[in-house]
């Protein structure tokens, strides 16, 4: 049995490595800037969703306010860069750190809340953040910040001629988020989180300090999302509150994980790989009319997938496994 387990973990790692290699080679074949753009966004949302999944999927604390951390990452980086000349690489880490601290600070009051009350509180706090940034003159208020163009440079993480560096960074971030999840899945924290999600009272009786577990999940999750936000800001070269902290980001982080399979290792990647291209394609091919057909198609697909596969697309893959399990159960029961 333990061999099975170790084999599964090794297989996950090999598959991930293979996929990452394939993805890394993709730009050799994809020269179209539009498609590259979609790939970059897909990778970014996969990374974000994977990070969201740590708190909301594994630990069960459904947050629809992660846009706050995304925006904080973006703003920290750009404010440090434009006002103090700090390189985006350091800004990115600073943003992640600040976001993690804020997540833990918010955790104190928030983690006492349950169910709907918690979800709404996360939405509300992100809205407050958005409104405050919209009114914060020093940070550009609603006008936002335009990142000064200094030419292509890895040092300044800014590229005008090619999107490839962004692509590789997004790929790296996605791999990092995946690997962190993979690593945490078979760690003390991973087990604690799942226990907390399933039954906090029982977890507490088994020596799990529920509150600390949630704080840990929130900090890791917020840090990674903020790094994503910093990347996005550099990628757009322009930020304003609505475009980095809007509610839609919270949703776009949650949706891939939910569609792919919430609380699973592969769910977010799978979900993002389907959802983000779908979003972009419907928007540009049928959304051009401005008549909302893209929204209709997009919304209908979300409804259909959530109704047909409540456990996410990953459950399609595990159907075969489930059959095996039934066999085992029958064996077990007859003993």
């Amino acid at each position: 049995m333990d061999k099975n387990f170790a084999a599964r973990r090794r297989r996950d790692l090999i598959v991930a490595g293979a996929l990452a290699t394939l993805a890394a080679l993709a730009p050799l074949f994809v020269k179209d800037v539009y498609v590259q753009n979609i790939l970059i966004l897909t990778l970014m949302y996969a990374a974000l969703s994977q990070s969201w999944n740590i708190l909301s999927g594994y630990c069960g604390q459904i947050s629809l306010g992660h846009a706050l951390y995304f925006g904080i990452g973006a703003y920290t980086t750009e404010l440090l860069f434009t006002k103090f000349g700090v390189l985006p690489w350091f800004g990115m880490l600073a943003g992640g750190g600040i976001a993690a601290l804020i997540a833990m600070g918010l955790g104190y009051p928030f983690f006492r809340l349950r169910g709907h009350y918690f979800v709404i509180a996360t939405i509300v706090i992100a809205e407050i953040g958005l409104l405050l940034f919209q009114n914060w003159e020093w940070a550009g208020a609603a006008m936002g910040i335009t990142i000064p163009v200094r030419g292509d440079s890895w040092l300044k993480f800014q590229f005008l001629r090619s999107k490839l560096p962004y692509f590789y960074f997004a790929l790296g971030l996605c791999c990092l988020a995946w690997f962190v999840t993979w690593w945490l899945e078979d760690s003390k924290w991973g087990f604690w989180w799942r226990a907390v999600k399933d039954n906090p009272e029982a977890a507490e009786s088994l020596g799990v300090v529920v509150f600390n577990s949630k704080m840990g999940a929130a900090a890791v999750s917020a840090f990674l999302v903020a790094v994503g936000g910093a990347f996005y800001a550099q990628f757009l070269a322009y930020i304003d509150p609505e475009s980095v902290m809007g509610f839609q980001f919270s949703l776009l982080m949650a949706l891939p994980a939910v569609l792919g399979g919430i609380g699973t290792l592969w769910g977010p990647v799978l979900g993002a790989a389907i959802l983000i291209p779908m979003t972009e394609l419907t928007r540009s091919y049928i959304g051009g009319s401005g008549r909302g057909v893209d929204l209709i198609v997009y919304g209908a697909l979300i409804v259909a997938i959530s109704l047909a596969l409540p456990q996410g697309l990953v459950s399609l893959f595990s159907r075969a496994k489930a059959k095996n399990q039934v066999k085992n159960q029958v064996k077990g029961a007859t003993r």
């Binding site: 049995m1 333990d2 099975n4 387990f5 078979d186 760690s187 003390k188 087990f191 604690w192 799942r194 226990a195 999600k197 399933d198 039954n199 009272e201 029982a202 977890a203 507490e204 009786s205 088994l206 020596g207 799990v208 300090v209 529920v210 609380g263 399990q325 085992n328 159960q329 064996k331 077990g332 029961a333 003993r335």
Partner: protein
């Protein structure tokens, strides 16, 4: 030798309701003690106070020579108090082995060791064949056993069992009784709450009867069942067959 567990003058009030009044009990090392009493006697409340779900309104709880009255449940678990729940609280989306690993992580920080410990416990509790099944797919009797396994994985000095034998078929109850004996033989002290006297009496070394929130009688099971006060407390209660 000091007792492993002691409650000293414990009171618990919920609003105007007194669930426990001035309860002082002690459990010695290596004993199996039964905590019994009719419905509403305050057994579950006392049990939760000992497990650390809530602090008592008044009085103190001592474990292994230390005052643990204000320690939360997780801290008590780390000190060696393991418990089960009357209404089973499995981690439903996790497999049986993963459920037990959560418990094993209290004393094993390296995953491989925790996993090894969990397998050991599953072997001990007879759940090894079900290791990779989801907890939600277990039958009720197995879920009870999983509760015990999970608590054992925390390597407790004291195991608190909350009605683990109630509601089982006679065969299942027999296996359950055998398991409790095995646990004691492994050197773990057991305090078990049971409502049904006939199941626990043959098993326990000592019985404590609670009634209306107070300790009514305590002593050897054979004496306790013959005590007129106990018979009176259980009178009218259809489960008083043991008397």
């Amino acid at each position: 030798m000091t007792a492993l567990l002691e409650t000293r003058g414990v009171w618990q009030r919920f609003g105007g309701l007194v669930a426990n009044s001035d309860v002082s009990i002690s459990v010695g090392r290596g004993e199996i003690v039964g905590l019994i009493g009719p419905n509403g006697a305050g057994k579950s409340t006392l049990f939760n106070l000992i497990a650390g779900v809530l602090p008592p309104t008044q009085g103190s709880i001592w474990f292994d020579g230390e005052d643990v009255t204000n320690l939360p449940a997780a801290e008590r678990c780390q000190r060696g108090v393991g418990r089960t729940f009357q209404v089973v609280k499995s981690f439903e989306t996790m497999t049986v082995i993963d459920n037990v690993i959560v418990g094993a992580l209290v004393r094993n920080t390296v995953m491989r060791e925790a996993r090894g410990k969990a397998h050991e416990v599953l072997e001990f509790t007879g759940l090894a064949a079900r290791a990779d099944v989801l907890a939600s797919d277990l039958v009720p009797a197995e879920k009870r056993r999983l509760e015990v396994a999970r608590a054992l994985a925390t390597e407790p000095k004291l195991l608190l069992l909350d009605e683990v034998l109630t509601g089982l078929t006679p065969t299942e109850a027999q296996t359950g009784v055998a398991l409790v004996r095995k646990v004691r033989d492994a050197g773990i002290t057991v305090l078990m709450v049971e409502h049904v006297m006939e199941i626990v009496m043959p098993l326990v070394d000592r019985a404590i009867v609670l009634d209306l929130g107070k300790v009514l009688v305590e002593g050897k099971p054979a004496d306790v069942v013959r005590d007129p006060k106990v018979i009176k407390a259980y009178l009218g209660d259809r489960h008083a067959v043991g008397a």
